[in-house]
């Protein structure tokens, strides 16, 4: 039995980063901000730890999501927070990554004046992400989406150069347009069903033209924010020109936030309006994204751009979820549910795997830029000698992205392949494996350069223009990378968490 009421802890996940943000605005000295950051991270870890420990396990009968009614007003009048396995997983992931990245940022921004602005924005972004994962209200989700979008844009703009600002502007406009599409859908849904609550909508939703229209608007808006091919154009530059910790969190969590919403709408809230053809369409886009992203990553000349394109590809994998949800005629309802559950588990694992690996990669790339002053792939010769830890991080994380065992990426791919084969959609198997191979080419292109003997390399990396990075920076990246490996060893924990059923 739960010792404490877990649900009452949920608002803390939003309040703590908000408080962190407020104090970061008020106290702008370097150490104060770092201290506040670390304290907030610690508090978040404590809270999410308490929640996870007390979460009813999948074996017990408590499989309804946790629910916290804010302000005491039940839906449809008020707003509720809710937590099921999927969102708990994403929240834990968020807290974990934020903790590591906070630690990393403390060093990354140590000498930069941008830190004054960075820390409050950072915590506001975190608050937005947490709020989105917890939200059970479609309008509230719009506000959280905007928080995330605006904070992310502000963070991208921190780089201050023209490329960064342009990328930020493009990102902002895309985000605003996406949000507006979403908001229009909210208007339509409210018009039809008279409620904004996830669960109530899910109960009322039926298949009618307005539902279709709403779903289409939501999907277009969120796909734009998630950067699924062909709406991915903004991502590489935004992710590629932001400061390293920002790139990391953008790739690892922010795109996942809108994907999370998509999953919520397609699997739960507007499930009746979903058709097989639509699912397949999303899948095809996902498949295209995998191949296109990988090819672009292969062609990228800058390291961070390559990593960003790899995100485009990885997002493609996430969208393979949708065709795998398709029902077939012979499958019974329970079979379908099991199939959907395993597909979701696979994709969740993908999210976790990609988040850790991509964050680690961006950290590694950040370290490289930090010490070299550039990230031109062609000029990375001999890196292995000078930055072994960062390179090692890059390699492990790369292994996970390729899907090599033992890594979370492998498990994710394994699960996804399993579902694909189970549902007789073998063409995804081909695409997934091809994607893995292309990713391998891209990653090993970098490693190849790094292993070239410095003596034979051109003199770009003469050790005198080499800036040593504080050891904590590569170490935090390595920690994430090792995490992806560790996650490759016991998948049960995460899969069990997913299995805690969301609301019907």
């Amino acid at each position: 039995m739960p010792v404490i009421d877990v649900a009452s802890l949920l608002p803390l996940l939003i309040a703590i980063p908000l408080i962190g943000a407020i104090f970061s605005v008020l106290l702008s000295t370097k150490y104060a901000q770092v201290l506040i950051g670390l304290l907030s991270a610690l508090a978040l870890v404590l809270v999410i730890g308490l929640i996870l420990v007390n979460l009813p396990s999948v074996d017990t009968e408590f499989t309804t999501p946790l629910r916290y009614v804010l302000a005491g007003w039940e839906a449809p009048l008020g707003i509720a927070l809710s937590l099921d396995g999927f969102s708990a997983l994403l929240l834990s992931l968020t807290v974990f990554l934020v903790t590591v990245l906070t630690f990393y940022s403390a060093f990354y921004f140590a000498a930069s004046p941008a830190r004054v602005r960075f820390w409050p924005l950072w915590w506001l972004l975190v608050a937005g992400i947490n709020a989105l994962f917890l939200s059970a209200d479609i309008f509230n989700v719009y506000v959280t989406l905007e928080i995330i979008g605006l904070a992310a844009v502000a963070l991208v703009a921190l780089s201050g150069n023209k490329a960064g600002l342009t990328a930020a502007l493009r990102y902002l406009l895309v985000g605003l347009l996406g949000s507006l599409c979403y908001l229009l859908a909210v208007a339509l849904l409210y018009h039809v069903y008279g409620t904004l609550d996830f669960a109530q909508l899910a109960a009322k939703a039926e298949s009618n033209p307005l539902s279709w229209a709403a779903l289409a608007l939501i999907t277009v808006g969120l796909v734009l924010k998630t950067a699924l091919v062909p709406l991915h154009f903004w991502l590489p530059h935004a992710h590629g020109s932001a400061p390293a910790p920002v790139s990391a969190i953008l790739s690892a969590l922010v795109v996942k936030a809108s994907f999370y919403l998509l999953v919520r709408f397609w699997m739960e809230i507007l499930a009746p309006a979903v058709t097989n053809e639509a699912l397949m369409l999303l899948g095809i886009l996902g498949g295209t994204a995998i191949l296109w992203g990988c090819v672009q990553a292969l062609r990228a000349k800058r390291l961070k751009l390559m990593v960003a394109y790899s995100t485009v590809a990885q997002i493609g994998y996430l969208f393979l979820l949708f065709p795998l949800l398709m029902s077939t005629e012979e499958a019974s309802a329970s079979q379908l549910a099991a199939q959907q559950q395993s597909a979701l588990a696979a994709v969740s694992y993908f999210i976790v795997a990609h988040a850790c690996a991509k964050a680690a990669m961006f950290i590694a790339a950040g370290n490289i830029i930090h010490s070299l002053g550039h990230d031109d792939i062609a000029k990375l010769q001999g890196m292995a000698k000078y930055m072994p830890l960062s390179l090692f991080t890059f390699a492990i994380a790369g292994g996970s992205l390729i899907g090599l065992p033992p890594s979370a990426g492998f498990i994710a791919k394994w699960l996804l392949l399993n579902v694909a084969i189970d549902t007789h959609q073998w063409w995804w198997v081909v695409i997934i494996l091809t994607g893995g191979l292309l990713a391998a080419l891209a990653i090993f292109r970098v490693l190849d350069q790094a292993f070239i003997k410095p003596e034979q390399a051109s003199d770009h990396v003469a050790p005198d223009n080499w800036q040593k990075v504080p050891v904590a920076m590569p170490v935090s990246g390595l920690a994430l990378a090792l995490c992806t490996m560790a996650l490759g060893f016991n998948a049960d924990l995460i899969i069990d968490l997913i299995a805690i059923e969301g609301g019907e």
Binding site: L404, P406, W414, I421, V429, L433, K453, F489, D492, I495
Partner: protein
């Protein structure tokens, strides 16, 4: 118990932890790093030993960690995994030592050793994996951890190699992953079980299973370097030597091969796989790879690349063994996993040492390397001989089981593959040995390091020596309790649910002294390593022969049964072997005494002593050995060691003769291998017991006849004999013609079931060939002007008579009991007389003719007369004994007396040559030892034939006038012919062979020139795509032509013979 579930994990961790720790050690702290390294490797080996003892006691070790729903990460120690784990762990230790020595000054050592340990970690994981997904995980991990090692040097070549390696392995990995996931979806959890898991699931769609199998095999085939997935392996040679060693011997290629074994046996189940028709495809693939890899190896000049292609070929033996469904082939395949590992790692160690110490990387630079780095090259040679499959080395064991297994499964063509591969192995390996040992050094070494007290750093020397010795003992003590073979038998027993106990369970030693006879020469050979001993080496020869004689004297008849030696060794002294042994031991002793002073002064003393002693040991052993493996081992030892005696003088002629000798010897070995494998299979299969017709199929007999026929000088296969016998030092020639040539005869006597089955066709062929040789030898012999060459032809002629006699025995089994003593008697008579003649020919130039003219004439004429069969001589006794028996056969009975005519003619000619060559003036003292030895031999020639048991009574009835006349008239006739004819030009059938060979060569060259022209033509044209295709085709054809060219005459002959025998085999069925 806890430790049973943690031990596999601990073993893994021992490699992982040390690997990870090493990364953090700075390059400036070698001591710490070395300590860590050795600690890791040492504790790993220790833990493995603990586990082996545990498994031996029947404990189950399994670590199970949850990985996925319904899918655990399982580490399981069964017999098969232990085999691989033990191999990896142990070789890791050795390679670590080696790598420390090798990379002493190079940069990034911590990185290197870190990844190195991780690589071993992955390999151990592959070995211990208890289900397919665990296997997959470690398999992929292996790819990753190996990549940094391949590109370690950081130069262009290694980076290109790394890229190639990755592309291949990643593609393979993807295919494997697809296969595994699919299989998982169909069949659920994929835990390895001894008899396969899919067989028990009847509802699976066979088509799916076939596709999955293909996917998985493609995935595994990349690492196992199956054609056409092998491309990465030769380029990966850009890596440092320890990496190549590990890649080729243990980690990577073996992981692939091991995986194939796992999938076929423990996932599909071999019977089920066979039902699906999958094994045959795999077998064909493996066979093609074997032949292709060997063929490519022939053309590589870069030593490591040659070794790499050899690996491509050799690793497929494992796959082949797996694909041939059957317990025996399984044993062969899996045993090869260990054997090939030991041998190949030795080779790479040595190649690395040579490159590091001398800067030699090409085969063409290796001339004389044996002298500079004897121990290293010795280790290399042992490995090479094993790889070719020379018994009793480890490679032979694998091939033997593979061959027998193939017969068991009815895959006759596999034998052909094995033989072609062995032939190619010999083609590309033996020249290396030849260059290293027998060619003089040419100029300075490319990059020689200063020579210290040892030939190279001890860390570079120790590992190959250890592995070479292990490879040797793995073959030598194949049936010992803890040998790899025995362990593999256990695995096969579990796989097939049957038992394989050694045929000989109990050890019994009735004639223990005979071990002394075998041990003495070997021990003396070993003592030669010491410098002080080399001073007195010439005394070792008579000493060890004397010990053997002594041992013989105190032993009665009986057997030594030693189960742990070879496949269970049986040494027997019975009527026949006793007589042969007496012949052998007396001739070796006398020849040794005769040679003492010659050897003492010789510049290649040690080499001569070594080969002499080894040949002696082989000869004694083969006489005594009663079991197949023992016989063939000693037989081979003698054959190979004789090579050193043949080429002793290092003249062009000697090398030419040596080459021919070696080619034919290898050919003989291969024929024998086939025949004996058939024989062994016949005697193993219980369903055939008691039915000699089936136990001894005609083709087996054919191969045995041909195989031993090479040694016995059977006409058509005799070519080497007249070349090799004369060029050797006198004592050696005497032994070659006197006893060693009888080894073939002895082989027939031991392994062909005379008296039980009739093989009329073979019998007739033998009679015709034998009698033809008897006259042919005479006809060619009389044209020679070198007395030793003449004697060699005489040997051929005399052996012809013996062969014809054997042929009669084949035709008329009922005569055998009478024929056997006659043959033995004749053999003894010929051995003694021929040896005496050779010795005399050698002594000729030192004799003081002018003083003791008549004594000298008598000494020369006595053995000559005996050979001619002059009445009252041993020759007459032997001939009459033979004649009495063979009269049944019309041809033999008629022609046999006439042979004496020829022999007389030949002997007269010999005496004439001797007389021509008598020295006008002799300086110095005559050699007392030589005279003594010769004198003793003369006495033996005169009396021994009357004393041995086989002569009982024959000479009594020969003292009649009729028989007197019957043996006298041919001699007189011969004398007549001698006086009619005089000097004829020298020549032999070998000339014809050489001619034919050069014709073939000419044809091939013309063709390849034509192709080259064509290629040039095409290259000059402008079309892009088709040009490449045509070029490739032209290259392939060119290669084929070159292959034909390189095979030379024996090869062509061999192929013809093989075809004929196979035809015979098919016809007989």
């Amino acid at each position: 118990m806890m430790w049973q579930s943690t031990l596999p994990l601990l073993i893994l961790l021992s490699a992982l932890v040390s690997g990870v720790a090493i990364f953090f050690v700075s390059d400036n702290k070698p001591i710490l790093r070395k300590t860590l390294n050795f600690f890791g490797a040492g504790s790993c080996v220790g833990l493995i030993l603990v586990m082996i003892s545990g498994v031996y006691q029947g404990q189950v070790f399994e670590t199970r960690l949850p990985l996925l729903p319904n899918m655990d990460l399982v580490l399981h120690a069964d017999a098969l995994s232990l085999l691989f784990v033990a191999l990896s762990g142990f070789l890791w230790l050795l390679t670590t030592i080696y790598a420390i020595g090798y990379l002493e000054q190079s940069p990034n050592r911590s990185r290197f050793f870190g990844f190195f340990s991780l690589c071993v970690f992955a390999t151990i994981g592959v070995a211990l994996a208890g289900n397919l997904i665990t296997f997959l995980i470690f398999y992929e991990l292996l790819t990753l951890t190996t990549y940094p090692l391949v590109v370690h040097k950081g130069n262009k070549a290694s980076l290109a190699a790394g890229r190639k390696y990755l592309i291949y392995t990643m593609l393979g990995g993807a295919s494997l992953l697809a296969g595994v996931v699919w299989l998982k979806a169909l069949a659920g959890s994929l835990d390895f079980t001894a008899t396969g898991i899919l067989a028990s699931m009847p509802h699976l769609d066979p088509f799916h299973l076939k596709v999955i199998f293909a996917l998985i095999i493609i995935g595994l085939g990349v690492k196992a370097a199956l054609i056409p997935l092998h491309g990465w392996l030769p380029s990966a040679m850009a890596a440092p030597a320890p990496v190549s060693a590990l890649l080729h011997a243990v980690a990577v290629v073996k992981a692939g091969a091991f995986g194939i074994v796992r999938v076929v046996y423990d996932v599909y189940g071999v019977e089920f796989a066979q039902e699906l028709g999958l094994t045959i495809i795999l077998a064909v693939m493996a066979s093609v790879t074997i032949v292709y890899g060997s063929t490519r190896a022939v053309f590589q000049d870069d030593l490591k690349r040659r070794l790499a292609y050899s690996t491509v070929s050799q690793v497929s033996y494992i796959a082949l063994g797996t694909a041939i469904a059957g317990p025996i082939a399984t044993i062969g395949g899996i045993a090869h996993l260990v054997h090939q590992g030991l041998m190949k790692i030795t080779m790479f160690f040595c190649a690395g040492s040579i490159a590091e110490t001398l800067g030699v990387t090409k085969v063409s630079q290796m001339n004389g390397a044996g002298k500079r780095m004897p121990l290293t090259m010795l280790a290399f040679s042992l490995a090479v001989l094993g790889m070719i499959g020379i018994p009793p080395a480890a490679g032979f064991i694998s091939k033997w089981y593979l061959g027998t297994g193939a017969l068991e499964a009815g895959f006759y063509w596999v034998l052909g593959v094995l033989i072609i591969s062995s032939l190619l192995n010999a083609t590309y390996f033996l020249p290396i040995l030849y260059a290293a040992w027998f060619k003089p050094q040419q100029g300075a070494w490319p990059k020689e390091k200063p020579k210290g007290r040892l030939e190279t750093h001890w860390m570079l020397m120790l590992p190959p020596v250890v592995t070479a010795l292990l490879a040797l003992s793995a073959g030598l003590f194949a049936d010992a309790q803890f040998s790899p073979l025995n362990w593999v038998k256990l695995i096969a027993a579990r796989e097939y649910g049957s038992e394989f106990v050694s045929i000989l369970a109990a050890s019994s030693q009735q004639i223990p002294a005979m071990w002394l006879a075998l041990g003495a020469p070997l021990l003396c050979a070993l003592l030669l390593v010491r410098k002080q001993m080399q001073q007195v080496a010439h005394w070792f020869l008579p000493l060890s022969a004397g010990i053997a004689l002594l041992a013989y004297a105190i032993s009665g008849q009986g057997s030594n049964t030693t189960p742990w030696l070879f496949f269970g060794s049986v040494l027997t002294l019975n009527d026949t072997t006793s007589t042969f042994f007496l012949l052998a031991v007396s001739l070796w002793l006398l020849a040794a005494v005769f040679a003492v002073n010659f050897v003492k002064a010789d510049e290649r003393k040690v080499r001569f002593c070594l080969f002499f002693l080894l040949a002696m040991c082989g000869n004694f052993g083969l006489v005594l050995a009663q079991d197949i493996s023992g016989f063939i081992s000693f037989f081979t030892l003698m054959s190979l060691a004789s090579y050193g005696l043949v080429v002793h003088f290092d003249t062009d002629e000697a090398h030419q003769a040596g080459k021919s000798y070696m080619q034919w010897a290898v050919l003989g070995e291969l024929l024998l291998f086939t025949g004996l494998a058939g024989l062994a299979f016949g005697s193993i299969d219980p369903s055939l017991a008691g039915n000699p017709e089936q136990t001894y199929p005609a083709w087996v007999i054919g191969f045995l006849l041909a195989g031993f026929g090479v040694k016995a000088g059977l006409f058509g296969l005799h070519v080497w004999l007249p070349m090799a016998h004369p060029v050797a030092p006198v004592a050696a020639s005497a032994l070659l013609s006197g006893v060693m040539v009888k080894a073939g005869l002895l082989g027939w006597l031991k392994f062909i079931p005379f008296g039980e089955v009739a093989f009329a066709t073979y019998g007739s062929v033998l009679v015709v060939l034998g009698l033809f040789a008897a006259f042919f030898g005479v006809l060619v012999g009389v044209t020679q002007d070198n007395p030793k060459a003449l004697l060699a032809y005489s040997t051929m002629s005399q052996m012809g008579i013996l062969i014809a006699a054997v042929g009669v025995g084949l035709k008329y089994p009922e005569l055998w009991s009478l024929l056997l003593p006659a043959i033995v008697l004749y053999a003894v008579h010929h051995g003694l007389a021929k040896a005496a003649l050779f010795l005399f020919a050698g002594m000729n130039s030192t004799l003081t003719w002018h003083k003791y003219r008549w004594v000298c004439w008598l000494a020369a004429a006595l053995p000559a007369a005996a050979l001619a069969g002059l009445p009252l001589t041993s020759g007459a006794v032997a001939k009459i004994a033979l004649k009495d028996v063979v009269e049944r056969d019309l041809l033999m009975g008629t022609v046999l007396p006439l042979t004496a005519t020829g022999t007389t003619w030949l002997m007269m000619r010999f005496l004439q040559l001797i007389a021509q060559k008598q020295p006008k003036k002799v300086t110095g003292q005559p050699d007392v030892l030589q005279l003594g030895a010769y004198g003793t031999l003369l006495i033996l020639v005169t009396v021994l034939s009357y004393l041995i048991s086989q002569a009982n009574g024959t000479w009594a009835n020969h003292l009649t006038a009729a028989s007197f006349w019957s043996s006298a008239w041919p001699v007189l006739l011969g004398l007549g012919i001698y006086f009619i004819t005089r000097a004829l030009p020298a020549g032999d059938i070998n000339v014809a062979y050489t001619e034919a060979g050069s014709l073939v060569r000419l044809g091939a060259e013309t063709l390849s020139q034509g192709l080259k022209l064509l290629k040039d033509e095409i290259e000059n044209t402008s079309w892009q795509l088709p040009q490449r295709v045509v070029c490739r085709q032209a290259r392939v054809v060119g290669l084929a032509m070159a292959a034909v060219r390189s095979l030379m005459t024996p090869g062509v002959l061999f192929a013809l013979l093989l075809c004929m025998l196979l035809l015979a085999m098919i016809a007989a069925r």
